[in-house]
Structure formats: structure tokens, C-alpha cells
């Protein structure tokens, strides 16, 4: 299997090169034979990568420790479930997996464009194959998952197969970590599709916004997976890392946030190009930036350039990434520069009070936020280059910059939908604003009177009320129009709002998810924690809760040994649950790990960690009281659901809605 997987990778190398060249020449000379050979190369690449991936999976399942990657990421007693997912546990496997997903997207793009965009497709295929070539190159030369394990014998390396492997990193032995990497990678890799179409359209000077329309769903699809991946990563960090939070501004977290920020900006700005023919250069820049940030994110994660909790991935792949990124930046931005005439806007901004100007502001703010995150993430690298020592800026820097930016974005989330395209009249704006503004002020006043003094949290809760009201008003006003014009019942009118314009109303659901997320984020202003060593019968109190350790136990499994506390949690004297926080020690990897327990309610989480065994033989229990965390997870689910609604094809409508005066006496 090692030979087969390795041969498949080696064969892939010329296939990607040949396919890219054939596609490009075929498109340039308009030769169907070459174009067809290029497309076949994409299919063959997918098959070869599938063969490689399956070979590696079989090596894991068969405990073949003569393979260095298997020996370093698995062991005999590792549950089968985790053996399958160990495929992406390390650098070599995850780069192979990245490449396989890229080829999978390639197949999907090829199939969905078999009868359209034929002029663009040769170049799209070429760009996809060049990307695949880059990852294949890295897999073969710097991070080969089929490298045999060798030991040094008198200066000569000889093949070696240990009786057992070193095991999977304990932090990765969690269900969220099974789903998180593939979902995140589907997001990262997915942005290659709009990137390839944008470059193909620029190269061929394709007229109109055809490439935008062709890739709108792909962009949304990738964004959805990226959002889901980030949320799953946050969930994993929360339940697995045991430090009581879900976001630490870790470089690897930031690596996924940056393309998300530019991708979100892109989702908004493409609407302006589609509707008004404006922001063409901006959109081309955003598409390119988003994909290159995805590659940059993978580089940050996999090169170990900035130390982080993910630093287990340090290796020499960095040079390859830098080369690919440099090529990508020069070629893409060079092409945009060369085609600047072709990208000239069809219209100009009519008024500051318009939907397009609010989208433009939103784009600028997203970009500022992205740059701030990029600066903070790379600061240790830059400081090392300039001063010779790594200086990390840490969460206070990121929070100081991004919290006000986030609040401004939250405001725009509610403000922009109130505006019409081109220009909005003041009377209309006053009418739309009255209720949301009044409720926002009322909420702020009530919270202030209830002794909420944390400034940003107070602003965030008030703005959340404002945005939620604008969203509800959009549904109410939209439903009322349908009822008045078409005589529909309320449930039917609301359902039809989604069916007739899923992108707009799905977008509002996404915005509502954002509101819930922000409420959850604001809750962190009120976090509390304490730690104490408790023996059986010992008690500790925090924020109206009392926790009592009933007993302590120790035990073993084939994979790890553990120490566990049985904790009874009470709120105001009434028991609310029994929890068993645990500390493990994994034999194969010789690493400890904590298994936290969480009592979760709409109001707050009580987060229990078995931190260590204390000096008196008791359990040192660290307890956190984290308000409103559940809102983050629910908000994430709502956001993804809204995104899925946006993907639903628009149902065809009848003739345009008549004016109120034209439809007196009911609607058809």
C-alpha cells in the first residue's frame, strides 16, 4: 500500500503539469482536444489522489508502523474511528487531504460547467491543476505521507517497523476534531473556485459579471464551510483544551478568521457588482485575497512560523508555501493591474445613504479588521526579523482593535438592510429607524439600571436589540406586502419571502445568527473563575452555585489512565446535575489531557476542569462561570442555517408585484 500510494503521488506530478499546460494551450488556441485532455487530467488527478488517500487509510487501519506518518500518528489501541481521522492529524496527511479536496472541487466544477462557461473552463482547469501541482510538489518533496520509517544503523538508514506507534495527539481525540478539519478545509479549498474563475475571466477579458454569477454559490458554499469549521474549532477548543474559553486569538484561529473576514466582505460586495456594475476591481482583489489568505492560513498552521497550540506541525514546507504565495500575489495582482480598464465601473455612487455605500463601508471595516488580525498574528515574526526576538501581542491587542470594529459591523448589520439601492430618502429612513432606535435605547437604559456597567457589553446588547428589531421589521413589512398584494396568510407570506428571495431573507437569518453570536461574545465580559483543592465532601461556591466533590476515582483503559472527580452541582441549594471532570494520561504519546464537564444553560455555563491532583491528595478543581456561551453555539447554528437558505434556488415569481393602488380588491 505504501508503494501504491507513493506511486499514485509520483504519477500525479506529471499529470497536473501536463493537464495545466494542455488546458492553457487548448484555451489559447481554441483546440478542443487539448481542452479535453486537460479536463481528463483533472479527473485522473482526482482518481490518483483518491488512491493515495485510500492507501494511507488502509495503512492506518492495518497498523503499518513501517510508514513514518502512521507510526507518528497512531497506535494499536487507538479506536478505529480515530485511526480513520488520523489521516489529517499531521502535516503530511492533511496536505494530501487538502489536495484531494481540491481535486474533488475540480470534479464538481467540471461537471457543473460541462455545458456552460466553456470559454473560461480551460483556464479554470489550468489554475486548479497548478494549485494541485503545488500541493503535490510539497507532498512529494517536503511532506511525504508515504515515507518509510528508518533508523540509523552505523550511519546507514535502514527500514524499521516499531511494534507500536507513538499515538495520536490526545487533543485530537475528540469528536469535534473529527469533523472540524474536513469542514474547515472544505471552506479553505472551496475559495479556489471563485479564484480560478476570476483569474480566467480576467485573462480572457470575459464580458459582464458572468464569472461572478457562475461562482456565487461556490463562494457561499465555501464561506458556509469556513464558518462551520471556525465554529467547530471554537467548540473543540472550549470542550477540549480546558482553559475555559473558545477563542484565544491563537495564530491558527486567526488563520481561519482572516479569509472569513474577506470572504464575508466579498459576499456583500458581489451583490453591488451584480446589481450596479460597481466595485469590479475591489471584487477581483477580494476574491484573490481570500484564496491567498486561505493558502496563507494553511501555511501558518503547517509551517509553525508562529508558535501556537498547534505548533506540533513545524516543518520545512514553509519555503514551498512562501514560493506559491509569492507567485500567486505577483500573477493575480499583476493580472488585475493589467486588466484595470476592463474592470472599470458601470456606475458611480449616487448617495451616501444607499445600500451600496453601506456595503462599501462594511467592506472597508472587514478589511481593516482583517489587516489588524494579520498584523497582530505576524507581529512575533516581524519583531523577530527586526529586533531578533519574538514579541507576541496577545488577546488584549486583538480585543482592543477588534471589539470596536465588531460593534460597528454589528451596527451596519442592522443599518444596511434599512437602506434602498441608489438612495434612501430621509423620511423613509426616519420611518425605518424609529422603532429599532427606540427599542435599542430602552434596552440600553434597562440594562444600565440593572447595573450592567461593562461599556462594550452594554453597547453590544443594545445594538443587538437594534439589529434584531430591524430584522423582525423586515420580515413583518415584507409579509405585510405579500398579504396586502397577494392575499396570503401570514405563514404562507413568510414562507414565500424565503422561497421567492432566499438570498435576501436567508441573509437576514444569517444576520440574526450574528446577533446571537455577539450576545454570546458580550457575555464573556462577566466571566468568573476560581480554583481550589477539594477532597471528598469538600465544597466550593461560585456565582450562586455550589459544587461538592462526592468521590475521587482512578482507572485505566488500553489507551490512557485517568483520575476523575464526581462532582454534585447545586444552584441556590437545589441540585442541578452530577458531573465527572477527568484528567487523562495517554501512554503512547506520553501526554496529559483534560476532559472538562459543562453545565450549560441559556443564562450561563458552569465549566469544570480537573486541573491536577493536589498536595493533600485531593482534586484541584478549576471552575469557570461563563455567561451566555450557549448563545454562541446557537448563533453559529442559525448562521449556518441562514447560509443554507441562501443556497436554495430562487423559485420563479409571476409578474412584478403591482402597486398597492393597482391591486385594490385582493390579489390573484
Amino acid at each position: 500500500m505504501n508503494e501504491l500510494g507513493s506511486l499514485a503521488l509520483i504519477t500525479l506530478y506529471p499529470v497536473t503539469l501536463f493537464g495545466a499546460a494542455a488546458s492553457f494551450l487548448g484555451g489559447h488556441n481554441r483546440r478542443e482536444g487539448l481542452v479535453s485532455a486537460g479536463e481528463r487530467s483533472l479527473v485522473v488527478s482526482f482518481l490518483l489522489l483518491t488512491l493515495s488517500v485510500l492507501s494511507l487509510v488502509v495503512l492506518f487501519l492495518k497498523n503499518n508502523f513501517s510508514n513514518a506518518y502512521v507510526a507518528n500518528h497512531s497506535n494499536i489501541d487507538l479506536p478505529t474511528f480515530y485511526k480513520l481521522t488520523a489521516l489529517w492529524a499531521g502535516q503530511e496527511g492533511s496536505l494530501l487531504f487538502w489536495n484531494w479536496l481540491l481535486s474533488l472541487y475540480g470534479i464538481a466544477v467540471l461537471w457543473s460547467n460541462r455545458n456552460r462557461n466553456r470559454d473560461l473552463m480551460p483556464y479554470v482547469t489550468a489554475i486548479l491543476l497548478v494549485s494541485a501541482f503545488f500541493f503535490t510538489n510539497m507532498n512529494l518533496l517536503a511532506a511525504n505521507p508515504f515515507r518509510p520509517l528508518v533508523m540509523d544503523h552505523a550511519g546507514t538508514p535502514i527500514p524499521y517497523a516499531p511494534p507500536d506507534g507513538r499515538g495520536l495527539n490526545p487533543l485530537l481525540q475528540h469528536p469535534a476534531m473529527v469533523v472540524h478539519p474536513p469542514v474547515l478545509y472544505l471552506g479553505f479549498v472551496g475559495f479556489v473556485v471563485p479564484f480560478a474563475f476570476a483569474l480566467a475571466a480576467l485573462w480572457t477579458r470575459a464580458p459582464g459579471a458572468g464569472w461572478l454569477l457562475a461562482t456565487r454559490r461556490w463562494t457561499l458554499f465555501a464561506w458556509l464551510f469556513l464558518s462551520g469549521g471556525i465554529l467547530l474549532g471554537a467548540r473543540w477548543a472550549y470542550v477540549e483544551l480546558g482553559w475555559g474559553g473558545y477563542w484565544a486569538w491563537d495564530p491558527v484561529e486567526n488563520a481561519s478568521l482572516m479569509p472569513w473576514l474577506t470572504g464575508t466582505a466579498l459576499l456583500h460586495s458581489v451583490i453591488i457588482q451584480e446589481k450596479r456594475g460597481m466595485l469590479k476591481v475591489w471584487n477581483a482583489v477580494l476574491v484573490v485575497t481570500t484564496y491567498l489568505l486561505c493558502v496563507f492560513g494553511t501555511f501558518l498552521t503547517r509551517s509553525g512560523i508562529v508558535s501556537s497550540v498547534h505548533a506540533f506541525a513545524q516543518s520545512p514546507v514553509g519555503h514551498y508555501f512562501v514560493g506559491f504565495l509569492a507567485l500567486g500575489v505577483v500573477f493575480s495582482f499583476g493580472l488585475i493591474w493589467m486588466r484595470r480598464e476592463y474592470l472599470r465601473s458601470d456606475a458611480t455612487l449616487d448617495s451616501v445613504l444607499s445600500r451600496e455605500s453601506s456595503f462599501f463601508f462594511n467592506n472597508l471595516v472587514f478589511l481593516v479588521s482583517c489587516f489588524a488580525v494579520l498584523w497582530g498574528t505576524l507581529f512575533p515574526v516581524l519583531s523577530e526579523a527586526v529586533r531578533g526576538e519574538q514579541i507576541s501581542v496577545g488577546p488584549p491587542y486583538f480585543n482592543r482593535i477588534n471589539v470596536p470594529i465588531g460593534l460597528f459591523l454589528l451596527f451596519l448589520t442592522g443599518f444596511a438592510p434599512l437602506l434602498a439601492w441608489r438612495r434612501t430618502s430621509w423620511p423613509s429612513l426616519r420611518r425605518s429607524f424609529a422603532w429599532p432606535a427606540a427599542l435599542m435605547l430602552a434596552a440600553g437604559t434597562i440594562l444600565f439600571l440593572l447595573a450592567v456597567r461593562a461599556r462594550y457589553a452594554l453597547i453590544c446588547f443594545s445594538l443587538s436589540v437594534f439589529v434584531a428589531t430591524t430584522i423582525l421589521m423586515e420580515f413583518y413589512r415584507g409579509g405585510r406586502v405579500r398579504r396586502r398584494q397577494l392575499g396570503e396568510s401570514w405563514p404562507r407570506a413568510l414562507a414565500n419571502l424565503f422561497l421567492r428571495n432566499p438570498r435576501r431573507y436567508g441573509g437576514y437569518v444569517v444576520h440574526f445568527g450574528v446577533v446571537l453570536l455577539f450576545v454570546g461574545f458580550a457575555g464573556s465580559s462577566f466571566n468568573r473563575s476560581r480554583a481550589e483543592e477539594l477532597s471528598p465532601g469538600g465544597e466550593m461556591a461560585i456565582a450562586g452555585y455550589t459544587l461538592r466533590v462526592e468521590n475521587l476515582e482512578e482507572g485505566e483503559t488500553p489507551n490512557y489512565d485517568f483520575a476523575r472527580a464526581r462532582v454534585v452541582l447545586e444552584r441556590r441549594g437545589r441540585p442541578v446535575g452530577v458531573y465527572r471532570p477527568e484528567r487523562r494520561f495517554y501512554y503512547a504519546s506520553e501526554q496529559p489531557s483534560t476532559e472538562v464537564e459543562i453545565h450549560s444553560t441559556v443564562r450561563e455555563d458552569i465549566y469544570l476542569v480537573y486541573a491536577s491532583t493536589g498536595e493533600k491528595g485531593g482534586a484541584v478543581i478549576q471552575v469557570y462561570r461563563n455567561p451566555l456561551v450557549l448563545w454562541v453555539w446557537v448563533g453559529g447554528i442559525v448562521l449556518v442555517l441562514g447560509g443554507l437558505i441562501c443556497l436554495v434556488p430562487m423559485r420563479r415569481e409571476g409578474p412584478p408585484i403591482p402597486k398597492a393602488s393597482e391591486s385594490e380588491g385582493g390579489a390573484p
Binding site: 487548448g26 456552460r116 434602498a420 439601492w421 441608489r422 420611518r431 425605518s432 408585484i657
Partner: protein
Amino acid sequence: MSILLLLLPVLVVAALLPPLFRRGTEMRAEREDRICALRERKRVLLAAIRELDFDREMGKLSEADHEAERERMKREAAEVLIAIDREEGRSDA
């Protein structure tokens, strides 16, 4: 396994090369792509006009702004329809 290892490169070459030996195969006409893009543009414009009407009914924009923007969109839609007719006329011919 060793037969499979030998066969793999042969299979790959056999899959990739045949299209190169096809004679006189020009790429499919650009016209189909143009018609496809124009139809997509028409669909987008019609949806935008409906959304504009909807926004007017929701009270988001004044009658004058609505009329001006609707006229602009209608003009563009008409141009797109003419372009589709022209392209389809060419392909019929």
C-alpha cells in the same frame, strides 16, 4: 500488487492521450456561452426589478427613485433581450 504498480502509469497515459489525436476539433462556439451569460443577466435583472417593486411597497424608497431605477433596469433588460435575439438569430442562421 506489482502488476497494479506497473499498470497505473499505463492506465494514466491511456486515459490522457486519446483526445490529443482527435482531428479537426475546434472548441465549442463562444456563442453558446454568450447566450447563457445573457440569459443569466436577464434572470438577474428581472429578479432585481421584482425586488425593487417589493422595496417600494415596503416603503423603502420614494416613488421618484423607484421609477428612475426601474426605468434604468428596464432599459438594460431590453438591451439584453435584443442581444439574446441577435445571438439566437445568428445561431439559427
